[in-house]
Amino acid sequence: MEEPLLSIQNLRVQLQQNHSTAEVIRGVELEVNKGEIVGLVGESGSGKTMTALSVLQLLPPSLQISAGTIKFNGLDLLKLSRKELQGLRGGSVAMIFQDPLRHLNPVFTVGQQLEAVISAHSAEKLTKKQVREKAIELFNQVKINDPERRLRSYPHQFSGGMAQRVMIAMALSGSPKLLLADEPTAALDVTVQAEILRLLKNIARERGMAVLFISHNLGAVWQLCDRVCVMYAGQVVETAATHKLIEQPEHPYTQALLEALPRLELKRKELASIPGTMPGLADMPEGCAFHTRCAYALPECRLAIPELLEMGGGHLARCIRAGNLPQNTESAA
């Protein structure tokens, strides 16, 4: 069994706010193997974006990594020097973001921005012509037509989908082994979304590139990912191969999430909503974070935070009743 490409162990992140600290990431365990596409799913406040930002240490100043290790190819990322970290970013590990138009610099052309990144990551010094050629090649890879003209354009002249392709091109310029994709399709139209998902999948497969795909959209995760991790209230609560997670979720939250999902199907049903809301930092319950909303809660759930239980075949679930929940998702309690 090969070492995982990315290994996050017991990651804890704290938020500094008005002289008080609160834990927003409370012990995340996550692995991504070489060439694997892993989905990181959760609702807002679950900590999924922060987990991804922690990898490249892009957290805003009010958030600090307080514990844990993040290993990439054996390298402990939290111990890197500033220079080494800079080399890693956009190099072996690249990141794309949600709402691409906000993530491109509005006062420079797309070509200037792409070429800056290409030059930054090339091993030898390239001539202007070589850099330009590489930029055009990247644009072709992400299927942007008329690349020369597009390179001279400014971000505001692009649609959301095109801008995301530009970001992907920039991310690919350093030939990354791991791509962190933070909700790359959330701000896009559904037809454009489908194209971008397809593009990501093809590129990942062609290059043998691993992807950590952060999303709240389970449908997109199904289509793109080999494996899925579900996050709730700053922790991973379940991880499994995609089809296994969908067919046989072992954590009550995952189950409830799947049941709450409206489907484009003929049957109209009362959507099983989850009562209450995800706890905020201030009112985190004792023990299992989900038990206050859980249909299967027992008094024991309050005693301690459950460990991730091995269900077999790499399927883990953070619930003391995992493996013993009724699988008939029509009737919850």
């Binding site: 609702e43 807002s44 299927k143 037509n145 649609s159 959301g160 989908g161 095109m162 139209d189 559904v190 037809t191 454009v192 979304q193 489908a194 194209e195 998902l197 397809r198 999948k201 709240h216 959209n217 389970l218 449908g219 997109a220 199904w222 289509q223 793109l224 969908i246 409830a256 999430l257 799947l258 709450a260 999902l261 409206p262 489907r263 484009l264 199907e265 003929l266 109209r268 009362e270 959507l271 099983a272 909503s273 989850i274 809301t277 995800m278």
Partner: protein, 287 residues
């Protein structure tokens, strides 16, 4: 939830006749430039549709399709460049002043972003009682009763009224917006992406609530959304828009199984669904 006889609006137009109708609506915006240098954006191009009482009509499309503009036209938040809008057989296309204000008690809206739709300095009580006072002239004990009724209808505790919007989550704020819209006892509710800013589990709560309210208050919905799965769960008929044109109107079942229009099919196929493989798509023409 308490439904009193009063909470069902008297004088609902008879079924069979459209509640609201758009005839050949056009909305043109002038973009850019003073001194007549600007160019036109035609947001809504010759759209005709009819929504019948008691139904939930979905308006779907991608960005730039014109669905939001059309929704605003139906509400008369905008005046059309040409064409007609009829509400209960009355021509409301060019209403002004007090007549337009009266229309407001018949047609209401719930917006997409619950974080922006509520005045952060007004308590919930102030936000909801404003329309009650201004349009229905309620005060005192009567006002209190109706306020409590509305909050209960949307599933919020009566004690919420003293609190400010920032103390509530997105889903709860959306409920407040609903209560505010319902305060005027409208017959028609235009919902502009009401669940797009919400998480999946909260979205489910709001969808269930919307369906329940429609049943019990006999409301008519115009439900604008880009999320086809949500529209599929809430609506009876669906209008598909693209680049300002209404391409087709079809029943919800028809849309899910076999839409006639090629774009409708593309749209439906593109929705990422658990259990559905990635569609085989070539790079489409960019908008």
């Amino acid at each position: 939830m308490t439904i009193t006889a009063e909470s069902v609006k008297p004088g609902i137009p008879e079924a069979g006749k459209p509640l609201i109708e758009a005839r050949d609506l056009v909305k043109r915006f002038r973009a850019g430039g003073s001194f007549g240098h600007g160019h036109d954006v035609i947001a809504v191009k010759n759209v005709s549709l009819a929504v019948y009482p008691g139904e939930a009509f979905g308006l779907v499309g991608e960005s730039g399709s014109g669905k939001t503009t059309l929704g605003r036209l139906l509400l008369r938040l905008e005046e059309p460049t040409s064409g007609q809008i009829l509400y209960d057989d009355k021509d409301i296309t060019h209403l002004r002043g007090s007549e337009l204000r009266q229309l407001r008690s018949a047609i209401q809206i719930v917006f997409q972003d619950p974080y922006q739709a509520l005045n952060p300095w007004m308590t919930i009580r102030q936000a909801i009682s404003e329309p009650l006072k201004l349009f229905r002239g309620l005060k005192g004990a009567e006002l209190d009763r109706e306020l409590a009724n509305l909050l209960e209808m949307v599933g919020l505790p009566v004690s919420s009224q003293k609190r400010l919007p920032r103390e509530f989550s997105g889903g709860q704020r959306q409920r407040i917006c609903l209560a505010r819209a319902l305060a005027l006892k409208p017959s028609l509710l235009v919902l502009d992406e009401p669940t797009s800013a919400l998480d999946v589990s909260v979205q489910a709560q709001i969808i269930n609530l919307l369906r329940e309210l429609q049943r019990e208050l006999n409301l008519t919905y115009v439900f604008i959304s880009h999320d086809l799965a949500v529209v599929g769960q809430v609506c009876d008929r669906v209008g598909i828009m693209r680049y300002g044109e209404l391409l087709e109107i079809t029943t919800r079942d028809q849309f899910i199984t076999n839409p006639a229009n090629a774009y409708s099919r593309t749209l439906r196929d593109a929705v990422p669904e658990v259990g559905k493989l990635l569609p085989l798509m070539q790079a489409q023409e960019e908008a």
